[in-house]
Symmetry: D2
Subunit: 478 residues, 4 copies
């Protein structure tokens, strides 16, 4: 999979250790799979807030001297993949502003569905916007005298946000963590000695030797300060649970425990269930590297068919630039992996994929296996067909680029060039998570748990409301 | 001079030629002496506005591919030396924003004295600020519904600005040029074939083969569009003229004609008048390179004393970094120029300087001459002693760093180590410009033509009101 | 494994297609695991030879414009890990020189054991050396009138080289490929349409859709020109076969076929044999990512113990720089992989490693598993203990840093902190390759098939004979 | 002038102060006008020799950390403009090699006319060459056992060099300075306290506060060591004096004293003599910036015509890249200087140039003056017409690009578009230097004092004998 799905964001907050920025850096590093467009850390020692951020991966975006500069007992970090907002430096997070003479830094994972409407209103009132991300709207709300006059301004703002959001707010004396009432994205709390760690995934806790304490609850505001952990609800009403099942399918690290279950285990269950739903006589189960390895193990165990290694992976993939010529077909695929001829030649293969989005990459992989001499290829996909856009933070391609959109399984099979094709059923998927009713499966079912703003389009922000631009930007007159 | 005075900004606008961006680039290049911190150009072909900007000199900030990208018939450019606002990329100009669904780019030369108060008010109302320059306040005013409801919103905003400002506003279909009612900074209009060119100095017109038409008048808004040049007054009341006499002393290029007079001629007149006010028997007149060469010629002509070349200049001065050791004294001076021993040895010299600010550099140059064997050094300064800060855009050092502040001429002479010292009188200076009463001479006299906001301090912005910060910024909690 | 072993070099040559440089680039890319210090390509269209090379990985070292410049029908490429010669740009290959008015480019994989002696002799005669690699000695021999007067100068030079070497020589009209008589490193020939491809490993042939033809034979010189493939022996005498068994253990890509066998299959056989030699009751077989996955599959199949996934891998590892603090132990390990607690907790594990060199990294991984709750850890190493240095191109650490040097298996087990430890026997290893007698196993046995020059030391070159240096070099007076 | 003449190289050596590298840096900085292609410094503390070098100007090529690394009591530096040898990093100097187990660094100013023949011979014997500069031949000679067996190897090598050369050799315990027997390039010795300083020009002595002691004599080898200064002749026979008169015309800094005379004074004498040889009635003498200012002063003094400032100079010229369009003619000229209309309008001008090579730049400057309204332009060139190539280190353009080649003065006048044109006569030039017979004037007269190797061509090296190349090089097969 993964030719088309682009990752979401990852958050980390650390409170109460001189190593806070270093731990935040490690936490971002372990969550790099959640975003590689930019990385940033803000830290504070009680008065000022410092910020360092850059484009690219954590190790490119932040230098040792950055970490030295950030040495402070409280830190918040962010890795980003753009969901809304194009690739401008102005969009790197955490965002840092002054509100009422006090600095505050904000890091955001998710996607607001009413941001466009909110922003239009602020612009009508003469506010100028700096970036193209929906996170900036939150800043304007926090600075808005109307909200600031509330007894609990943060809760008041949170109540008016619609969509998927996990937020970390860094103040000079505390960290506030917020999770939307649907619980769409994961967020967990851990302890490393006397320090508190908050992160999107538990793999970040593991990285810094922090012990898992609990998740931030949907609709909760958690405050970490010298007084320890304090909790309050921001009082959202009428919001259904909607944990993102795609975190289990593809996003989250297999070692993480999210929404109460270990990702690897859920994926293996997907594979087991798939073996029961779509058995096939074969010589060997092989996984498409690397995401489908958990599901392939499940299929192998349930089916009893031996598991093998069908591909080697190129670990050195960078930004390759080669223009494929006539001679060199399927290059994109081959740059990433190479079929092992001596393993697949003459074999009947069950090939396990985690998901299929556009289908182009999967097709290339199947051709590699075929060229390496595979006798039969039975493709088994450990999730249901993706037929609907995500409005809560996953950057699926346009509707008409989804291979499953408007095509039968037989048509897809033909396109992919395999001998048989089966998807895991949505019911099958849901039977592996608990409780099934708490999960958002809109991309499979079209059933959206969070109401969408009338006229909302995922990319509306960028197309219509771009404002301030950086050194290489462009502004269009509608 | 020039160890301490930092330059102002330079503007250029071009309308009505496919080469507009290239001409703007050349116009900035010829005005590089007005600012070397950053350079930027915005251009438009009628719908969108494109922007390219970078740090450093024009040739560093803008690449050939930038100019290719900017190829459009209307362009506005800016070179900047920070007067208010620290050295952040966010401060490079022109600034580009959307106001009421239409893009507008703004380039600014000057300094607002009421920007702090205006900004504080907008922040109170929940506006967020992006940069530290006072130019941003103008954007918020332009976006403010209260101003936008005026019959002439731009004039309404301009009326409420207090201070020194020349502005170029780029709209998709026109350029608007504004000059404050005191006429503090220069701004001229020229034609190159069918194209219009607006610039801070006429040397930019020369560079692009444009013919000088007239100056933008104090208090005038000039609009250049397909309909040609249109003019209106923005209706400022009660503002005295205040052309910056320091443009003639040091800032402007000798080839430029500003405030109705050629700069070289005015400087030569300063030198002639100085020769009359402070004659001295000597063998040779030498100029301190390169600014004082015009005045030295005037002194030579008036006095009849031969003129010579006392120094060679190092044309390759970059950012040098050498730490002076005990062995290497006066290094800063020597890196820039070198006394010609065979010229000065045994001679009685009249050394002409354009101005003396801190005095440290001038002192070093005098020591170089002494070490090269000068018998007598009679320093003649072609301007009056600088004793007061500038609030309109010249970045003089702190009050107590001005050598003339609280010192007699005799004390200064002693510090500089010369045999005699004379400054040109303020009356002498004013006798060289016409009409004398239209010139601001506050840095010499303390007589400020534009009222200063109560509590205004030149650096107030940065120290108190820093808001959004870039990747390496820091926010302080007051 | 792999904390300590540094990789060898990779070669590729392409003849007879306009895409030659692009295919060479792809061939290097697929052999990136053989060297990441530098990469370079030379190409020719019949008269001049062009060269492009840079530091780092292929995608960093060579740009699209490099490939455009290199567009020519004959090309030779090289990826390098320094075996002899420190990390200077001067050491990147292919080397390009003029010999007798004709240009020639040379790419080398291997290590000469008599290079020191040869070089000293040339220096005595007044020759100046440019780089620190032993490859340069070959150039001086090729340029030496004494060799050039031979009927077959290349063969004459090859006969006088002692050690491990695969060479590609690019002339304006042909490629010459040479492999030393012991056959220490692999080298194969393939065809892609009308074009010829020569490479270190067959995975490079796969990448460019070339069909495997045969290996270059030990002691053979293969010439590819317009006349097709021609072959001659260079007439080495008295040299035993010595295929590097460590290519099968660790170096080569699992998809490659070297020395007549597929690497994945040999590794799986190592695992099967290991399961027979060292069985243990356990719940789960897990591989140490990624190298040991083939052997783990073999162990699983032979033992019948289920195979699982014990770790997730961080695919985004760059040059990380974090200083481990007291709080963060075993950081190096954790940056690369993360134990999946839900898999290993409470389990009796068979952990399969491909080899153990220093032991520090392996130890860290075992601690990760223990911390994640593993009940028992039975470490099984799919190769024999490494006790001797390699003189033919593998950069093992100093003798006394080898964990197996002077320690019993029980002592090593204790150091690594596992419940049981077993290595595959040397006999076991050799039983998996054919014919066993043709393989060099000196690093396990101390039995060196190629005689070592008296006084030869792997790093002698750099320590004693550094000559020309690049911009940041240093020369010592002995 | 100066559109076409490219500069020579500059040398500096410092012995006997902990600041040696810093002083060498300053010495290079003050001689930057002698070469801007690359800069390098080698230093030693008695055992090893360290080297730092880079492309571009001194301040770009060498960083503060380079100087820190080079902190040692003996140092040699070099700035380079390529005379022979193209712009490769491999050509930056000093070159550092090991000869007979001892390091030596060599810096060279000049051009050898027999280098091609020497190099061909070494190549015939199998030596490989690294760079394209003729300096490398000297290294091979120094390493040659035949020379090393001499009683005085250095003297023996020097005797066999033909051409123009000043050399500095840095050994761990001493500096050796050599100047060819014709004395073609300048080289001087100074003292700064206990330290010795050797440099191409005295302006380098001034920069580091060193007192001038004497010149290195033609044919002399000076050794500076703990024993102080020692001198010997290398025994050249039959070589005529040939000081380069073009150093006085253009190369050297006006503040320097070379060949026994101050450069500024000689140039002023050129101007005085020119006024006598070619008087003209006029209103104003103006110099073409900046080189001709000395001669213009001389013309002014001798003629009694007032001197004025006709141009302003752009001090910020970098690598500009603008493509001149139809609209923008004479762009190259205008980027560098701008005529002051208020000075030249309606005036009869005597314009003084130092020399005219191709004529294109001078022509552009004359057009600028004309466009600014000059009534008459009388161009006076303070040197004779250049009609012959230089073989000793000045990079004049090809023969047929010299404006004076095959054209009468009247034809040149017409091309340049001036009302009258006069060159200083060769006799006039020689009357200003002493003794006239010791000066090389080959570029004016075609009379070469140093015999030229049969078949020698200045660029022969690069075209025929390029050997080792750097990462972006190319080798041609003849």
């Amino acid at each position: 999979m993964a030719d088309a799905i682009q990752h979401s964001c990852g958050l980390v907050g650390v409170f109460g250790t001189p190593d806070a920025a270093q731990l935040a850096y490690l936490g971002l590093y372990s969550q790099q799979h959640r975003g590689q467009e930019s990385a940033g850390i803000c830290s504070t020692g009680g008065r000022e807030i410092l910020r360092r951020a850059g484009m690219g991966r954590v190790t490119d975006a932040l230098s040792p001297s950055d970490l030295t500069a950030l040495a402070n007992p409280i830190a918040v970090g962010h890795v980003r993949y753009s969901t809304t907002g194009s690739c401008h430096a102005a969009n790197s997070q955490p965002l840092l502003v002054n509100i009422g003479d006090a600095p505050v830094a904000v890091a955001h994972n998710g996607n607001l569905v009413n941001a466009g409407r909110l922003r239009a209103e602020y612009e009508r009132r003469g506010h100028l916007f700096n970036a193209t991300s929906d996170t900036e709207v939150i800043l304007h709300m926090l600075a808005d005298p109307a909200y600031r006059s509330h007894a609990d301004p943060l809760a008041a703002v949170m109540r008016d946000l619609v969509g998927s959001f996990c937020l970390l707010l860094l103040h000079p004396d505390r960290i506030e963590a917020v999770r939307d009432a649907s619980g769409n994205r994961p967020m967990c709390i851990g302890r490393a000695g006397a320090a508190w760690v908050i992160a999107s995934e538990t793999c970040a806790l593991d990285m810094v030797d922090a012990e898992y304490v609990r998740d931030v609850a949907p609709g909760e505001i958690v405050t970490i300060s010298e007084r320890g952990l304090e909790s309050r609800s921001f009082g959202a009403v009428g919001v259904r649970r909607g944990h993102c099942i795609f975190e289990h399918v593809y996003f989250a690290d297999p070692s993480s425990r999210i929404f109460g279950q270990n990702v690897h285990r859920v994926r293996k269950e997907f594979g087991r269930r798939l073996a029961r739903e779509a058995p096939v006589p074969a010589d060997l189960v092989v996984a498409v590297p690397n995401c489908a390895r958990c599901a392939a193990l499940g299929y192998h165990e349930e089916s009893g068919i031996p598991i093998g290694r069908g591909f080697t992976t190129n670990h050195y993939v960078g930004r390759s630039f080669i223009q494929p010529t006539q001679l060199i077909r399927d290059l994109t695929v081959r740059l990433k992996l190479n079929a092992i001829r001596d393993v697949v030649e003459g074999q009947r293969l069950v090939v396990v994929e985690d998901s299929v989005v556009r289908g182009t990459t999967t097709r290339g992989k199947m051709q590699s296996l075929r060229r390496a001499g595979a006798k039969e290829i039975h493709l088994r996909v450990a999730s249901a067909p993706i037929r609907h856009p995500c409005h809560y933070g996953i950057d699926f391609p346009q509707h008409d680029e989804l291979i499953a959109n408007g095509r039968t399984v037989e048509q897809i099979r033909e396109y992919l060039g395999v001998d048989s094709l089966a998807y895991l059923s949505l019911e099958g998927m849901l039977s592996c998570v608990t409780p099934p009713g708490d999960f958002c499966n809109a991309c499979f079912s079209g059933n959206y748990p969070i109401p969408i703003d009338p006229g909302f389009r995922k990319d509306a922000f960028e197309q219509q409301q771009l404002r301030f631009v950086d050194a290489h930007g462009v502004l269009r007159r509608p």
